[in-house]
Symmetry: C2
Subunit: 507 residues, 2 copies
């Protein structure tokens, strides 16, 4: 954390509790839990997607409410993949099913279609006492796990999926943390190394900090559509081997924050590398429904693995999925699952035991996941309206991705790869030296300075590239493509005007 | 874990994946994640409430489904406080509110009462994009946190509660873990000591194992209604001081698994002890609505603390609450909150940062929590039916608690304290020496042997005392009082017959 970030964060604390802060010097003496006794891993942990820039955005919203005058009327949050917050409407069928599970007297209502009632009955029959208010098995409701397994088989063209390998989680994050938790070594001399892409979704470095794992950063290739170079994987692991025992390789596909979609060939190369280096692959595939680039398709790591022949048949892999992304965008439900492949059965037993202490993931989130993997079929009454809603969301995202990259690339001193998938653009700012010098003088990072200025001048909230990681001497930010088409056009126009001014200011 | 437990657990793994297990010897050689490389804290962690006895209960259910002949028709799960699973119906108002939030077109329906619509509108107005599918702030939806603060103020007779001190969580468990996570020391020479009651809810020892915290066990006094003796707290901390830095004291009130309700005087003594020893109090108060004993009332640690005068005004305290217990019993929603008092503001900022990497707790769970803290008021249309439903549940629980202890105490070789609160009985089995010897010969614990025999002979699933902790040489089990009155009567009759047989067999 830079000192500028820290001071922002402290300002926030003061803002939250001014009265207590006044007494700090008196009270501190007798506190049990202080910055000195606090878990050091918590202190070092950073999570930019909800970091100081976002905290400042919240503070500005409060200032606006209290009547402060700003050069804008509202904060536009393009910092986080929060679809409904940006005005994307829920998929009707999903909400109907969850509402029926929530309040079963609605099963008698003629306002709900038969297929939604079928799904709800299916879920309720799998819940103890026919209530989503009872705990499920720690791995999730069995019938939902079975439907997830069917979905995976269909997605992968028939590659078998055993529902016993599917564990539901509180969002994908919780599943990712559950797998990484198994890998902690607790031996400071030989920490477990985890290969993490740079740029990355900051959950990975945050979890590495929290768990005392050793990050092994590898760079994605910005000059080749943010592709994944096997030679770079090799360089990265060789560079860190002396400092850790590398055991895991994280791949995010489609990419966050980069929006790339890996080719089948690229995935094959990654799998061969993991085999050679004895690495457990964590495939973050939460954007598997979000592919827009023509000629691109989503290939799951599992499918590619299964087609590489018997030499690869025992490679350990965990794949993660979520209700939060795709075209459903149900972030608030915190639904997710993890499929583990080739995990040692005793280890799997231990993982199940460790999950059991959390009791179970939210059952309403599990119900939402049921609809993600088992949406209306062509012979069902809701199919037509479902397809219309789905295609509207995905069509808009494709359009918005193109609009975003075109506009960004039209700006002098800015370049951006195509948004092939996911829901983010990660443009590079070709930062003027004068801006770099000013940031250095202020003790902040140039891209962070850019983002704070953008926020203060336009109300647009994006996250600086340093929160995700980037090559030394390059500067980026991540913005979502989620605002409605009209809002996005207005956002991009404001961004362009700001950027022109920024470049002129530091010329 | 005893070897018997382990072998049961391994049987379960085999059962889950026979085909993979066959290839184990071949595959093991090349695995990354094995029992040797697995996080050792995961290995040592135990969680009895969902442990081997419960796994066996699940296996028996499958055997019954497949036509196996048993001396019973179905498994009766009295192992976990899972209200709806035992047939307790949901509170209508809660489900109406959550259904309205889930599917807002229902706000137009005349089938839903105005007060339920008001609550739903209140929640939706607090959600970004008016959708429970958007992420909330990491600490929870602000309006719900404000309503929680009002609830706490009212509960405590006006003691002030700042909503900024309220953090919502995924069930109470997640909040408890978030606080304990802050206390990890990572310095093997001086681990943080956490005082844990024995018997305890096993989340605490499981989390201590997972986080490398040093448990400082203190015994509750079975001969005094499972009360909390201050002299025992002193003995316990003195005994462990050389092995750790004691920083936290866990109190569960009303008690789980013990069902005691602490007197106000007893709580005062605990607070004075915590002050003297510089301990952060974790008050697990999830059963605050479940008090049945005449003359007993729930006193929150916060209220008692606030009335002890200025010497105690800065004592650090975290109190936990849940949607899962009380009369709502909505376990599946995984709703919960934590109120922190007197936490160092910088530490609180760090906690907020660490919560932010989880994004947010399930928003539908937060909506359920809104109803827990803000149920229908006397002037509202749903009040009468709500009160009827609430009183039915609490009245039944009181009756079932009495029925359970009376029956248990009527058995020779069994004794049980009154179920003053919560939803469990924790009887002592006065174990015959012959049974103790047999268990020893079989490498299992006598109470575990008792519970396995009970399960195999009657289908009743309870958890042995060793899963919660108990004084050396005493043997208990925990059973819930949740089955319907008729089911509970039948359960108790079967249990009595089994117990008589068991005592005769080992006389």
């Amino acid at each position: 954390m830079t000192s500028a970030m820290l001071s922002t964060s402290l300002r926030l604390c003061k803002h939250i509790s001014p009265s207590r802060h006044l007494h700090k010097s008196v009270a501190m003496a007798s506190k049990v839990l202080t910055m000195e006794t606090l878990n050091p891993h918590v202190k070092t942990m950073e999570y930019a997607v909800r970091g100081p820039i976002v905290a400042r955005a919240g503070a500005i919203e409060k200032e606006l409410k209290e009547g402060a005058k700003k050069p804008f009327d509202k904060v536009i949050r393009a910092n986080i993949g929060d679809c409904h917050a940006c005005g994307q409407p829920p998929i009707t069928f999903l909400r109907q099913v969850v509402a029926l599970c929530t309040y079963p007297p609605l099963l008698e209502s003629s306002d709900f279609p038969a297929d939604a009632k079928d799904r709800a009955e299916r879920i309720l029959a799998g819940c103890k006492g026919r209530s989503i208010g009872s705990y499920s098995d720690s791995a999730g409701v069995e019938v939902i796990r079975r439907d997830i397994a069917s979905y995976i088989e269909k997605r992968d063209g028939g590659v078998k999926c055993d529902f016993n390998n599917v564990f539901m989680s509180t969002g994908a994050s919780d599943g990712i943390k559950a797998i990484l938790n198994l890998m902690i070594s607790h031996s400071p001399a030989t920490p477990t190394g985890v290969m993490i892409p740079i740029p990355q979704y900051p959950l990975y470095t945050a979890t590495a900090s929290e768990y005392g794992l050793h990050p092994v950063p590898y760079y994605l290739n910005e000059s080749n559509k943010w592709g994944l170079d096997i030679s770079e994987l090799q360089r990265a692991i060789d560079a860190q081997r002396a400092h850790c025992t590398p055991r895991a390789l994280v791949v995010i596909n489609p990419g966050n924050p980069t929006g790339q979609v890996l080719s089948r060939e690229n995935i094959e190369g990654v799998i061969k590398f993991a085999k050679k280096e004895k690495l457990f692959i964590l495939a973050d595939e939460v954007y598997q429904h979000n592919v827009y680039a023509s000629g691109s398709s989503f290939f799951s790591f599992k499918k590619v693995l299964s087609e590489l022949g018997p030499d690869y048949a025992d490679l350990e892999l965990a794949s993660f999925m979520s209700t939060s992304k795709g075209y459903m965008g149900e972030c608030g439900y915190r639904g997710g699952y993890c499929e583990v492949i080739n995990m040692d059965p005793e280890v799997r037993g231990q993982m199940l035991k460790s999950l059991s202490a959390k009791l179970c993931p939210s059952v309403s989130g599990q119900a939402a996941m049921e609809v993600v993997v088992n949406p209306p079929r062509p012979d069902e009454p809701s199919y037509e309206s479902f397809v219309k809603e789905r295609d509207q969301v995905l069509g808009d995202l494709k359009l918005k991705g193109r609009l975003t990259t075109e506009t960004l690339n039209s700006m002098e001193g800015m370049s951006c790869n195509e948004v092939m998938g996911a829901m983010y653009a990660f443009p590079q700012i070709h930062m003027p030296q004068k801006a770099i010098d000013e940031a250095k003088a202020k003790g902040t990072k140039p891209d962070t300075m850019y983002c704070f200025q953008l926020l203060e001048e336009t109300g647009i909230c994006v996250v600086s590239g340093s929160g995700f990681g980037q090559r030394e001497g390059t500067y980026h930010f991540r913005m979502t493509i989620l605002p409605t088409v009209d809002d996005l056009k207005s956002l991009l126009a404001k961004l362009k005007a700001f950027h022109v001014g920024f470049m002129a200011r530091y010329k």
